[in-house]
Symmetry: C2
């Protein structure tokens, strides 16, 4: 039996946690998203979620992303990984409660990076889960790195690698804004949302942004999207929706018309 081409759903850490407060999970949002995933009822789905106020503050406190420099960081690596399993546990609880046969895959148990980029991904379990009709769930995690000792693997890099490795049908990215804007919608009320972009237009936008400022003026969204360029180049379309608004993730999963930014190769 060949591996089915999956849809990959990324749920941002800022959707399922309150980024302004440490360890503040939005369990009501997690529950609503589980319901939406159940209602969409699509086959061959992989879910990846971010770390938000669970993983990020600890990773930052101990400089985990920058790699192993001193013994004192080791407990920080342990804490960062552990707290991500706690957030993941809340999501798994909710998915299973909604009768979804979801199974978590622990990135740090099967992924090794090299200078922060995925070097090997032992995906036999994930592939088998997909074939059997389970919903595999992964997350941004503290992982081991051949050069740095350890580092942070972002959910976005995971999504891009999975999409490419499994030749995904499509990618749905659930964030806390309506889509990709030409400037930061949280800072600039006149920011214009882009509903459809080709890869060429996206690259042009990127170089334009690059000229105007070194900061990511789209409010961090472009950084996320640039991680996905490789997958888009492979012909995998990306839909960005606001996952803090009810039903948009469900509709996007079903392929319904929905307020979003769609990025396609051509």
């Amino acid at each position: 039996m060949s591996t089915p081409r999956p849809t990959i759903l990324k749920i941002g850490g800022s959707v399922i946690t309150d980024k302004d407060e440490e360890l503040a999970a939005r369990t009501a949002v997690i529950n609503r998203l589980s319901e939406e995933i159940q209602e969409a009822g699509i086959q061959d789905l992989i879910v990846v979620h971010g770390g938000g106020s669970f993983g990020h503050p600890l990773a930052q406190k101990y400089g985990i992303k920058e790699g192993f420099k001193e013994e004192a960081q080791k407990i920080g690596f342990s804490e960062t990984h552990h707290i991500m399993t706690v957030l993941n546990g809340l999501f798994m609880d909710s998915l299973i409660w909604h009768n979804i046969p979801a199974v978590s895959i622990t990135p740090s148990s099967c992924v090794i990076t090299e200078n922060g980029r995925i070097k090997s991904f032992e995906d036999t379990a994930l592939r088998t889960l997909l074939k059997m009709g389970f919903l595999p769930v992964l997350y941004g995690d503290a992982v081991l790195d051949t050069k740095l000792g350890f580092t942070i693997l972002s959910g976005d890099q995971l999504v891009a690698t999975l999409a490419s490795q499994f030749d995904a049908k499509r990618i749905v990215i659930g964030v806390d804004v309506d889509g990709l804007y030409d400037s930061d919608p949280k800072a600039n009320k006149a920011a214009k949302m882009l509903t459809h972009l080709t890869l060429g237009e996206l690259k042009k936008l990127h170089s334009g942004l690059g000229k105007s400022t070194t900061r990511d003026v789209t409010g961090g969204m472009f950084g996320k999207v640039s991680e996905l360029l490789f997958a888009i180049e492979q012909g995998i379309p990306v839909t960005i929706v606001n996952a803090t608004e009810p039903n948009l993730v469900c509709k996007a999963l079903k392929g319904d018309n929905v307020k979003s930014t769609v990025i396609e190769k051509e």
Copy 2:
């Protein structure tokens, strides 16, 4: 840098949970064991724990060990794996709280079995964690199986495989009895504890037991030990101690003289 020869500590599910009640973790015992592991302060340690009243009732309810037979079992596989991550999370919480750089390795993310026996174990992360001086923690888990679809991987089988794969220095088995008896100490007050056994004596005992009854008259302990025969044959000594009694695990880890059953090749 070559992988150090680790000591492997198994903590039985009946030690850290109350087997007579569902989902009853003995958090005070978990805390005491974390303290003992910290106090023993030995390098190159791997911890494996069982499922007790977390994993077993769910695994049994859905017939997970017997393999995939019908769709309705799938949510059972999800639940069994998830509940084991919850028990493991309690242990990780406690170890990290005691300032031990412990990192959980999820068996179902990196182990595949064939007819219930480990077929592949992608151990790069585990090996790297050991080399870096972390404490890897694994547990009995619901795993995928090439023939059965899925099954249960016992902590005992994990211990034996790890011991062999990493050429362990020694194995310490923490259980809820004082050691290996010539009959079930919970049923028979006259049961005699065996303090030292060679592999030959163990096998003789086994064949004796086999003649007397088909049930495991040692109260389940022989079943656990027989899983370790291969490791003992490789020259890895096994020490069985009562982990429900304070300080015995700590002393056994340090190699101190302690009430126990020691099984050696010769």
